[in-house]
């Protein structure tokens, strides 16, 4: 699964995700990627999210929308909301994987609860960051 989230210079957010699914999946199986609110979500008022991992669990926990909901209703900052969903809701329910997210201020969060996640990020005026493992 691949994905991207962005905040542009006008303050708008967007998210996109694409996948081939999982190896040897049942024909017709659809995971969280195309399910708005599970694997993909964007709202200028809160955040944009793209997820990757065990799709069925991400769907059951509406992972992407849950990050936004924590920001909207509990007033949590993006990092706290994303960490809670990925490291608690998903990790404690057999939902391995991670998410990338950006909020309306341009803050990025890229939490994952598995060994590695291919990810990269950049903010205007800063050097790009490319990482695979936690460190």
């Amino acid at each position: 699964t691949v994905g991207a989230v962005a905040r542009d210079v006008h303050g708008h957010l967007a998210a996109a995700t694409s996948t081939g699914g999982m190896t040897a999946k049942a024909p017709g199986r659809v995971g969280d990627t195309p399910m708005i609110g599970a694997g993909t979500f964007a709202d200028d008022a809160t955040c944009a999210v793209s997820a990757t991992g065990h799709g069925e669990v991400f769907i059951r926990w509406t992972a992407a929308a849950e990050i936004a909901a924590r920001m909207r209703h509990a007033g949590q900052p993006l990092a706290e909301a994303a960490r809670a969903v990925v490291m608690e809701d998903l990790a404690q329910n057999d939902g391995s994987g991670g998410a990338i997210a950006v909020d309306r201020d341009g803050t990025l969060a890229l939490p994952f609860n598995c060994e590695g996640m291919y990810r990269a990020s950049v903010r205007s005026g800063e050097a790009p960051v490319i990482a695979i493992y936690r460190d």
Binding site: V9, A16, G20, M35, I36, T40, L110
Partner: protein
């Protein structure tokens, strides 16, 4: 105002023990290329929507990652692709599921968002929307990679032998 961009290329099996320096460098280079594609849009004052679609299209074109070219195979040896896009300005969204043919499924998802009243389309109608949008289609050989085909054979072999493992990455996209 400033811009921000993040991309991911999956969270499958990325065990340090199985990662060679050459392979890690290939992944890092692919991520860097993709990041530049998306950042170029934002650097020029472009929309976040255009940036994420450009970045994901570049990832789909990269056979190292499981989307578009290089997608994994189903148990019957086919490729079925899913994609979605969402615009934070107004919560417009588009998605496609189970499709095969468009070079960039994310652009098919965007076509659903921009050219129909619907959020998600599957099957022949999703492909019709992509064709009507003028999106490029590819033959099966374009999407095929030996590594994904070998992974399918390995997984089917394990199933035939009744073997299981607890690698959570087997459930990852």
């Amino acid at each position: 105002m400033t811009y921000s961009l993040a991309i991911h290329g999956g969270a499958g099996t990325i065990l340090r023990a199985s990662m060679t320096p050459e392979r890690e460098e290939a992944y890092r280079a692919a991520l860097a290329r993709t990041l530049e594609v998306g950042e170029a849009v934002l650097r020029d004052g472009g929309a976040a929507l255009d940036a994420v679609v450009a970045a994901v299209s570049a990832l789909e074109d990269e056979p190292l990652f499981n989307a578009g070219r290089g997608a994994v195979f189903t148990s019957d040896g086919r490729q079925e692709m899913d994609a979605a896009v969402m615009d934070g300005r107004d919560r417009r969204a588009g998605a496609v599921a189970g499709i095969f043919g468009p070079r960039n499924p994310v652009q098919a998802a965007r076509a659903v968002m921009e050219r129909t009243d619907h959020v998600c389309l599957i099957g022949p109608n999703a492909l019709d929307v992509a064709r009507a949008a003028g999106l490029p289609f590819e033959e099966p050989a374009y999407f095929f990679t030996e590594a994904r085909w070998t992974a399918l054979q390995d997984t089917l072999g394990m199933r035939a032998r009744g073997e299981t493992d607890d690698d959570p990455a087997r459930r990852h996209g």
